[in-house]
Symmetry: D2
Subunit: 168 residues, 4 copies
């Protein structure tokens, strides 16, 4: 049990489709094969599938829970941290990571993507948000420019490879 | 100095265009005219313009700062809270509000929009993000459904009216 | 409604004795007379009495609540911030203050005193904790030295005067 | 690498005496021998000594750092979480634990002890704070009663045994 050199956050909805779950499990397995730690929000859906995948390869999983009850973590989380911060814990998931892979997505996922891009972290997406920044004339205002964005990937293997490439 | 019945968060980039600043100042003034408190991230750009607008009508302004230095607040913040939470304070801006008005936007703004929608708050937008949820087939996965979203407004008056309508 | 130059935190138990409540109300009134803002945890007991005192002199009161419900604030809080951070909000109460006055005390109060002293803030006490640092030989270990500590005051007027003196 | 059933927080100063360091290292080793996880603030002094002790027995160590830089963790932390919350992370250290062992202590340590007692956690002390609650007449106020407190232990073995006994 040594400390992983790099950590990858896998973010996605707690209520996920079968396709999202399968993709998340593959992502988790590949993250562990790359000897990276996997950090997530610690709950169900995409988070649970990703942890299960990581554990299937002996990986280390860290779950940063919104509530104060450690038992709310899914069964594949090795280290569960009951932050008690509610959705403010999304910022901690991002801070704990060197790169973020988003699988599917609800509003919470979008907030994690946005916080990661704000922090300058690479974000790779599988079937996730396509955030369209404000365009000229929308609402009568001309927006400021913006750099970065979600890098779309075609499948789990490409997603993990891209995340690893951007960390190194 | 009585406690406002309702609080409206105005979120937007610290580095904003002249159009964004003008819109934010109008929004702030209208929020104060409606006797609502204005909460924001307390810094410059859209946040400062909105506070200036609110103060021009004698409104109450609350700035939840990311750092630990109260003096980082713009000069129109009446109550500055140096949270020391970094970007995790975005979650607190949202929690302190009954509705959110987004003017323009960078990644931080997008995170606040997403956290607000996650919490079920009404979000009205002026020249801001159009977040496109994952569509069928993107990345090979079929996403789950999602309710809510940013309500676009044509100008500051319409934005504040819409926010007030959704609070009541 | 102008922004106070200085903020004083009043900390103490939510379940307080009549003596503690009377002292807290006097402290709150004197804080407002000194044109300082009063920040506290926003709930009942000492927090409510201090806010009531401050409002009796037209002062500005800020309540940083542990939960997510703004309505949990006592009726004398002008600006209620539902942080949703649980007891972690104690650190925010301290950060928002230039000095701390502790009236009576439970474990939560002790945590705020300790966080304030850790941050180098002046802490004045009225019938509050006397924290005794580890002494030589206790538990078989010789402790490191420690600077600072709670400054005891004889009555509310002396407490506020001492806090103001240490801010200036 | 399985998930520990119980977690024990070891809290103490970053700038510690040789006696404190030796005690902390013994505590860490005994925590790991009991197959508990060890959580701490992740930095130096007592925290580092406790982690080193735990790792000497193959234990799992979790460091919840105040800053945003994972590299600030001591070299014996397996899972470092850069919370970016400053001293507010002390509340997270306590939440992540089933019991707390305090070794020596500064103001930060006292805040963790107080937060743990507030949360109803068992706290065992080795050469640490003896917090004296407000007594009758102090500052002219009669205080409310208070339950719980630090359980003093004579040596590391007794401290860990007492913590384990109170968890079960």
């Amino acid at each position: 049990m040594s400390s992983p050199r790099s950590w990858i956050a896998v973010v996605g909805p707690g209520d996920a489709s079968p396709d999202e779950l399968a993709a998340a499990e593959d992502v988790g397995a590949l993250v562990a094969e790359a000897r990276c730690g996997l950090v997530c929000g610690g709950l169900g859906g995409v988070m649970e599938a990703a942890c299960r995948g990581a554990r299937s390869r002996g990986g280390l999983t860290l779950g940063l829970l919104p509530g104060t009850d450690r038992d709310a973590a899914n069964g594949w989380v090795v280290v569960a941290v009951p932050t008690g911060l509610g959705e403010a814990r999304n910022a901690l998931v991002v801070r704990a990571a060197d790169a973020v892979i988003a699988v599917g997505g609800g509003w919470g996922t979008l907030s994690e993507i946005a916080l990661a891009l704000k922090a300058g972290l690479p974000v790779v997406g599988l079937g996730t948000w396509d955030a369209v920044p404000p365009g000229p004339g929308s609402g009568g205002v001309v927006p400021t420019a913006l750099s970065g964005g979600v890098v779309p990937a075609g499948d789990p293997r490409a997603a993990v490879a891209e995340a690893l490439r951007r960390i190194s």
